[in-house]
Structure formats: C-alpha cells, structure tokens
C-alpha cells in the first residue's frame, strides 16, 4: 500500500518525505512517458494508405506449427497494440508461442484525407487486400480471422460478403452487431437522442476526433476512469508489477486516434440507429449483407461486464449466422479487460486456443 503514514517521530520525517518524493517521481513517470507497447518481434509485409499488415516472427519450428494462419483485426479507433501490450501479458506473444502463424492488420491513424473511408472500404477494400497478401506470404488458401470490437464488425461484414474466400474460422470478441435494444448501455442511448447529430460532428471535424471518442468511452464509467484508476495506481505504487501494468495500459488508453468521418456516421446511422445488419437492409458496396451467408466456424466471445458492447448486442446476433459450427462463450471481465486484464491469460486466451487449435490443422 502506498498509503502514507504521518511521521510519528522526528526521525521518521526524512524517510517519509523521501518515500513521498519517490512515489511522486514514479507517478510522473508512468503518467507522462510511454511504455514500449507492442514488443513481440514482427515485420511489415504490406501497406496501403495508413494500414499495415504485420507478420509476427514464428518461435515454434515450422513442422510443429498450425497449418492455418491467424489474422488479428482490431477496432479502427484505437491502436491494436492492446493485443501485444507487454511481455508476459500479450495475447500475440501467447498465441505465437502456441504455434500459430500470426498476422495483424493495423488500420493506422486516419488523417483529414481519409474522412470518406467507410465500413464499405474497410471490409471490401482494405481487408480483402490484406488477406490476399497473407495468403501469398503464408502459402495457405485458408485462414482464421479474430476480430475485436469494430474489428469484429468489419470481419463479420467480410465473412458474410465473401464466404468463399477461404475464411475457415471466425472469432468475434465483443462484437457490436445487434442494436435492437435501444436501452442497452450508454452509447446507444446517447446516439439515439434526437439532439445527437453525427452528421454535424463530421461536418465540423471531418473525422470523429479521438479525444471525443475517448471522452464517450470514459464517461460511461466516469468514477472508475477519471478517479478510480489513479487511486488504484497510488495504492499500488510500491508494487512494480502493478505499476508496469498500469503504465502499459495507460499508454494504450492515451494513444488516441480519430475515426474516419464516413465510418463514424455509418456506425451511428446505419448500425446504432437503424440496426440495418440485423434488419437485413444493410448494403455494402451495393451488396446485401446477410449473416446467413457466413459459413466459417464461428466463436463469439462476450465479456459479461462489457459496458461498451453490452452482452445482448453480440448474443442476439448468434441465430442469424449461417455457420454450422458456432459457439458462444461468455467470459468475466469488461470490453478490454477480457483480453488484456490480469485474468485474460487464465480465462480468455486458453478458451480461444482450445477452440481454434483443432480447427487450425
């Protein structure tokens, strides 16, 4: 505990002051410097505009590796380094060690010139091209996609529109797909309010500013995000492990990127408000999106304490998927904590590996 004791004798005073000074220095370091997130060795094998496709250097001999490569697709409004947060607590490091040929699609940080990029472009232009490169490099025609948050939404669109493209397994983490319950969570309430005008935001800024998105996410749990997290750090400031973990997470949380204007407007209007994906009225690049067309083996993982994508937004979509092999798993934790929290390596990661292993050879 970092709780300071008032000196009970004159001789304790210098020690106490020194301790406080040390704690303040630690506090300053972890709040004002960047932790070197994303340390697992990798190389860039493809780029398009701001997007990059990384290939992680395998650590398991080729003959012991799983045949089917794994592509990780994270959300568009945060950096994918959350998947490779720090050595010893990195999903990428874990899954590479399990013998998978792992690729990661980083959408990059959009600039003003990217304001017209929509989900149509992400799912039908960027993702298919990255997959084409993945196939060329891995030499495999089949592959697995693990999509998280909006990355899961993009992966779902792709899986429904290109079911014959070789997608063997589809893993969705906290996928926001069904927006029929307009009372489920703060986001859907706020964005369905008549005063909330996504068009106006986009007209003013071009892209949806990262700090506005960050505010929205933090405002859902204001006490935890604005006060609790710092108190937790202060309480554990003598514990280097907790401090390191906090530093890494704070680096990721503070690494804000904008969301392209067109995709933001599409998300609010076509998904949050009109629920087009579930209503069967969603058109992407002129093609009708039908989840019944998804044929890949499906694993849908939901975080029970997810305040960003409430359970019903993922769970209710399950019957719509056409996959014959589909499974829903609910794990403890929040939207990010389920994959990057301290319990993730005991709960979530082994479940993913346990499901994917037999389907990757």
């Amino acid at each position: 505990m970092a709780t300071q004791q008032l000196p009970t004798s004159a001789t304790d005073l210098p020690t106490t002051l020194k301790q406080i000074e040390e704690h303040m220095r630690t506090l300053q370091r972890v709040t004002q410097t960047r932790y070197p997130v994303g340390q697992t060795p990798k190389e860039v094998i493809w780029t398009l505009n701001k997007a990059k496709l990384y290939h992680y250097i395998p650590v398991v001999p080729a003959e012991q590796r799983h045949r089917i490569p794994l592509l990780l697709v994270f959300a568009t409004m945060n950096k994918p380094t959350i998947l490779d947060l720090r050595p010893g607590n990195s999903f990428v490091e874990y899954i590479v060690k399990q013998g998978y040929d792992v690729y990661l699609l980083d959408w990059g940080a959009p600039g003003p010139e990217d304001k017209n990029i929509s989900f149509d472009d992400y799912s039908m232009e960027y993702l298919p091209r990255a997959i084409r490169k993945l196939k060329a490099v891995s030499g495999e025609d089949e592959f697995t996609i693990l999509g998280w948050c909006l990355g899961a939404l993009i992966s779902t669109l792709y899986a429904a529109l290109r079911p014959d493209d070789g997608l063997k397994n589809l893993i969705l983490l906290t996928a926001p797909l069904d927006f029929s319950d307009k009372q489920a969570g703060g986001f859907i309430r706020w964005t369905n309010d008549q005063n909330f005008n996504a068009e106006k935001i986009v007209a003013a800024y071009g892209n949806m500013p990262g700090n506005l998105i960050d505010y929205g996410a933090k405002a859902l749990k204001p006490v935890e995000n604005y006060i609790g997290t710092y108190l937790n750090l202060w309480d554990n400031i003598n514990n280097p492990k907790v401090v390191e973990s906090w530093h890494a997470m704070n680096t990721w949380v503070s690494d804000l990127i904008d969301m392209t204007g067109a995709s933001y407007q599409q998300l609010i209007t076509q998904f949050y408000r009109e629920n087009r994906l579930m209503n069967g009225t969603l058109m992407i690049r002129g093609e009708h999106v039908d989840l019944g067309h998804v044929r890949a083996n499906l694993l849908n993982m939901i975080a029970l304490a997810d305040h960003i994508t409430p359970v019903c937004q993922s769970e209710n979509a399950m019957p719509h998927f056409g996959s014959l092999d589909k499974q829903l798993i609910k794990v403890p934790g929040g939207h990010i904590g389920m994959m990057a929290g301290s319990g993730a390596q005991k709960r979530t990661w082994p479940q993913i590996e346990g499901w994917l292993g037999p389907r990757s050879n």
Binding site: Q5, R67, E113, R129, G186, W190, Q194, N195, K200, A204
Partner: protein, 173 residues
C-alpha cells in the same frame, strides 16, 4: 515506535481517508453510472454538443475562408489540395497493390509450369526439394524454413512445394 494498523491509527489521516474513500467509492460509481445512462443525461449532453457545434460553425467557416484567401495570396496549397493529392496517392497504391498481386500470380504460374517441364531430378534430391522448398516470401518470413532450405537446394521456388511442405506439418504441442 510500533505502528498500529491503518484503520485504527488516529495519527494516519491517509489511512482513514482511504477507508472512507473505499467505503463510498462503489456507491458513488454506481450512482454516476446510473446517471449517465438516463434520458436526461443523453438529452443534456446531446444538446450541449449540438449547441457547441452550432455556435462554433460560423467561426470555423470564417477561419476557413480567411485561410483560403491567405494561402491563395501566397500561392500555397490549401488543405483540400493536399487531401486530393493524398486520395490520388491511395488510388495509385491500390493499383500498385493489384499489379503486385498479379505479378505474384504470374510468377507462381510460371514457376509451376517450369517445374512441370524440367527433367525430374535424382530421387534423393527430388524428395529433398518437395519437402523443403519454400516460396521466396516464405523464405523471407520464416527463419526456420530458411535454414532448412539452405541445404544446397538449387531448383526455383514454387508455391506448390511450399504449400505441400506446410500441409505436411503435424501439430505437436
């Protein structure tokens, strides 16, 4: 001097504050979560954002017009010019990406046909080639495959060989 536990030490205001804080934090957090999930909060935050965007719009427009005039006077490109250029660059990148993919396909097809027409190597060497030949890309990517392929193999790399090599892998965990 022996220190008493935090919760009973009257000389430790930090410990007492922490106790009080922990006691109230959960209730406070729950209350705030309920508050931000109310219709009233949705309406208020939406209205505030809308008011801000509406009132700041004329200033943004004025700034934009002024910048356009200034940049035009100085013969400098405007944001829209840079944006257009960037969009054109992305389009060129996409075309290059297509060309790259087509070249890869052609190169593979050519390697396959070359391998099919070339005389069969000695049985021992043939087995070696089929087993370990990676694609150029796989070689670049995969240090393990690369090490194996440096065993004196001289035949041109084929994707088929690489695929068969990978397909023959067995999972050992």
């Amino acid at each position: 001097m022996t220190q008493r536990p935090d919760d009973t030490n009257p000389m430790d205001p930090f410990g007492m504050m922490k106790g009080m804080r922990d006691g109230n934090m959960e209730a406070w957090s729950k209350m705030m979560q309920q508050f931000v999930n109310t219709e009233a909060y949705s309406q208020a935050s939406g209205a505030m954002l809308d008011a801000y965007l509406t009132t700041s719009a004329p200033f943004r427009k004025l700034l934009e017009q002024t910048m356009t005039q200034v940049l035009t006077q100085f013969n400098m490109p405007m944001r829209s010019d840079i944006t257009t250029l960037a969009e054109r660059l992305t389009n060129i990148e996409m075309r290059l990406d297509d060309v790259d993919a087509q070249l890869t396909t052609i190169s593979r097809a050519s390697s396959k046909s070359q391998a099919a027409t070339s005389p069969a190597p000695a049985p021992q060497a043939s087995a070696k080639v089929a087993d370990v030949q990676p694609t150029a890309e796989a070689k670049a990517m995969d240090p393990v495959v690369d090490t194996v392929s440096e065993t004196g193999n001289t035949a041109p790399p084929t994707n088929k060989a690489s695929t068969s090599h990978r397909s023959s892998k067995t999972k050992e965990k």
